[in-house]
């Protein structure tokens, strides 16, 4: 067999798009973590990033079954559409689902009750760490992307967490050539971010290319909302209108999916993958800036939460 690359091969090589390169990179990371760790789990929130992550994981092991379970950290403030979607996805691909409940952490007294309308986003970290300990997971795949936030932009692909689950940005393990070091001792664990290098636009291009199913709230629909701190919050569940907040109907969609109490909708008429793609490619505000009250709170909000064990 000749080693010299033929014209045909060069053409195939050149035809590999940035999405192909990102896809191969992610699959390679997922396989490497599975082979280097005893007991991994994939964090599946039902949001678009974790949908892409799960899709890539399924592809990484096809036609074999996914060799690890998926876990949702349930804040109890979920969009019902997201739960419906989660269950359908899990059923369709025959996955093992673990639900770690923030409410149970509150009931056990592990975390203070933020009240029925308080955000439970930050508390998730405690529930997550408890679940990781209980199930003895040594690695958790997350859909974090470096373009989401300036602290995330600093994160390695394999993020080492100490016995308390914390992140120490000054002590990250170097990853030359993306060679990952999965060695840990008992009680420590790893977070793995296979889609680190994807942007929001890459995610949507890939979702459209692969026709990955998503929760319906990512597409335009009518919803009763109030405006709070410049954000459109869906009325219901933890969101109760306060004085001066007038509920009204708007045509909206969501750019991210999180705790209902702090995830804002954006006005949009995008009903298809292509519509959303067009919208995202002309957006002038980041998805977190537009829709996540919790990250705007302080300049280093994300860094602080990551140090505490957040995703």
């Amino acid at each position: 067999m000749s080693a010299v690359t033929s014209q045909n091969e060069l053409e195939i090589l050149a035809s590999r798009s940035h999405l192909d390169r990102l896809e191969s990179e992610a699959i390679t990371i997922i396989r490497e973590v599975v082979s280097g760790c005893e007991s991994p789990v994939l964090l599946f929130s039902g949001g678009k990033d974790s949908a892409v992550l799960l899709w890539l994981a399924i592809k990484a092991f096809a036609p074999a079954r996914l060799p690890f379970p998926v876990m949702q950290v349930d804040t109890g403030h979920n969009f019902p559409e997201v739960i419906e979607y989660r269950d359908e996805f899990v059923r369709k691909y025959g996955l093992e689902l673990i639900v770690a409940s923030v409410q149970e952490s509150i009931d056990r007294g592990d975390i203070p009750d933020p009240g029925p309308t308080g955000s439970r986003n930050r508390q998730q970290a405690v529930t997550l760490l408890t679940a990781i300990r209980t199930h003895k997971f040594d690695a958790a795949f997350g859909g974090g992307r470096r373009d989401e936030d300036k602290a995330r932009a600093k994160e390695r692909i394999l993020s080492f967490r100490d016995k308390k689950g914390g992140w120490e940005p000054r002590m990250q393990r170097p990853e030359p050539w993306n060679i990952l070091n999965p060695r840990i001792v008992k009680g420590e664990h790893l977070r793995a971010f296979p889609i680190s290098n994807w942007t929001e636009l890459d995610i949507w291009e890939y979702i459209a290319r692969e026709e990955i199913p998503l929760p319906t709230i990512y597409f335009s629909h009518e919803r009763t909302v109030i405006e709070r701190d410049g954000m459109l919050l869906s009325v219901g569940g933890p969101v109760v209108p306060e004085d001066g907040e007038v509920p009204r109907k708007e045509i909206v969609r969501y750019r991210t999916v999180g705790d209902m109490s702090c995830t804002g909708a954006v006005r949009s008429t995008a009903t298809s993958y292509e519509d959303v793609l067009a919208e995202v490619s002309t957006a002038r505000i980041t998805e977190r800036g537009a829709t996540r009250a919790d990250d705007n709170f302080s300049e280093s909000a994300m860094e602080d939460r990551k140090r505490e064990g957040y995703f």
Binding site: S6, D20, S24, R31, A60, F61, D147, W177, S281, T282
Partner: protein
């Protein structure tokens, strides 16, 4: 619609390197800003932070210096990754730290880059850290070095200053014996001269801007060896089917169904019976693809094995390595030390059999030594507890690279470029 046209873009990975304060973070901020890669809320957050951490003038470096400690100290500690796309290409930018103590993070950023942009402050010219970073980039084998001579505004846009820096960097590269092409550009990162658009302050410079270069440099790797696949995992279907796929990322060359292969280290021969790429069947795969190979014969193959298409360039089943190492930790490396070496074909224990020389960054000459200290680049010989299937780094980066791990703390303490195996 622009969104659709980007779908067939190639992706280019870039690292900024160079000494502290030469303008790496500012250049990246400028590229993102001028190519409209920044969102409005990020801009307003940077304005706010500029008031808090600086003299109030808009500080582009704060776009990448995102950790609290970095902002307080005005330095880059760890690599920040940023992304932007033009109609021609999409870019992954790694902004690396200039301080010697964070060299490990610079190596991480530069090791996977196609292009390195070396920043040099025109006032100071080439300094030790420039030599260190250029040497590392050359050793790592980036395809191109863009030499951005920055802060030209502070030297009156003087062409002779520019020429001196260009001559000095070219001398480093040739002393190292590297043939990486150098593309020099005079710039001012703060006002954007020659960054995205050509400016009017350097009439004596007729070349492209930084962005024009990044959009056009050829980064297609020249594949000259047979395809190889280090097996990461064996895929087995449950129930009925006897499917067995050996999963991994393809390196070196293309592979086709029907190709004759050899499995290293034991040397079994077989034929490729089937291929999948990203989970779907295919007849051919090319380097970089995440694939799975089915073999015609029922063999004992798994993690640790490398499947290689038959031909003239076979990897070596090595229990001894000669390698150049970038040493990342405060603890000295001495002859006799125990290490863990992690490579695509496995993780093995190793003992340092010899340390032959280190690179003197003043003279760029190899000087004999028996130990390596933090940030040294030196040559070592390692004895391995069991074989790794290796290539020379210059022939195949994936098969020729490895990391050294401290067996006690589990920290990653060195980056290894394999020169030969035996």
């Amino acid at each position: 619609m622009s969104a659709v046209s980007t779908a067939s873009n190639t992706q280019v990975r870039i690292a900024t390197i160079g000494s502290v304060d030469d303008g790496k973070s500012t250049l990246i901020g400028r590229l993102l800003h001028d190519s409209k890669g920044i969102f409005e809320d990020q801009l307003s957050a940077v304005s706010k932070a500029s008031r808090r951490y600086g003299d109030g003038t808009f500080n582009l470096a704060l776009l990448t210096d995102g950790l609290r400690a970095e902002r307080e100290q005005g330095i880059t500690i760890d690599v920040a990754y940023r992304y932007f796309a033009t109609p021609k290409r999409s870019f992954v930018l790694a902004d690396t730290p200039g301080h010697a103590q964070f060299t490990r993070n610079m190596v991480t950023g530069a090791s996977v880059s196609d292009i390195a942009i070396v920043l040099v402050d025109a006032r100071h010219g080439v300094v030790e850290q420039t030599r260190r970073h250029v040497s590392i980039a050359a050793l790592l084998g980036v395809s191109h070095l863009v030499l951005a001579v920055n802060k030209m505004d502070l030297v009156n846009w003087d062409e002779t200053v520019f020429d001196t820096v260009v001559t000095d960097v070219a001398a480093i590269v040739s002393t190292l014996g590297s043939s990486v092409p150098i593309h020099p550009i005079p710039i001012c990162a703060t006002d954007g001269e020659n960054v995205v658009d050509a400016g009017d302050k350097t009439p004596w410079y007729e070349g492209p801007s930084v962005l024009e270069l990044l959009e056009t440099l050829d980064i297609t790797p020249a594949a000259t060896i047979e395809a190889r696949l280090a097996v990461q995992w064996t895929l087995r279907e449950h129930g009925g089917s006897d499917y067995r796929g050996y999963a991994g990322r393809l390196e070196g060359g293309a592979i086709r169904v029907g190709d004759m292969v050899t499995v290293h280290p034991h040397g079994y021969s077989s034929t490729v019976a089937g291929l999948t790429r990203a989970g779907s069947p295919t007849d051919i795969a090319v380097p970089g693809d995440a694939i799975a190979i089915e073999l015609a014969d029922d063999l004992d193959v798994g993690k640790g094995n490398v499947i290689v298409v038959d031909g003239t360039h076979q990897p070596v089943d090595a229990t001894g390595l000669i390698a150049d190492v970038c040493w990342f930790t405060d603890t000295e490396l001495n002859v006799g030390d125990a290490l863990v070496v992690r490579h695509a074909s496995g993780e093995v224990s190793a003992r340092v059999a010899a340390i032959t020389h280190r690179l003197d960054l003043e003279t760029l000459e190899n000087t004999p030594t028996d130990r390596l200290i933090l940030n040294d680049i030196g040559r070592v010989e390692l004895a391995l507890s069991s074989p790794l299937v290796v290539d020379e780094y210059t022939v195949n980066r994936a098969g020729g690279s490895a990391i050294a791990i401290d067996p006690v703390t589990n920290a990653t303490i060195g980056a290894l470029m394999i020169r030969s195996g035996c």
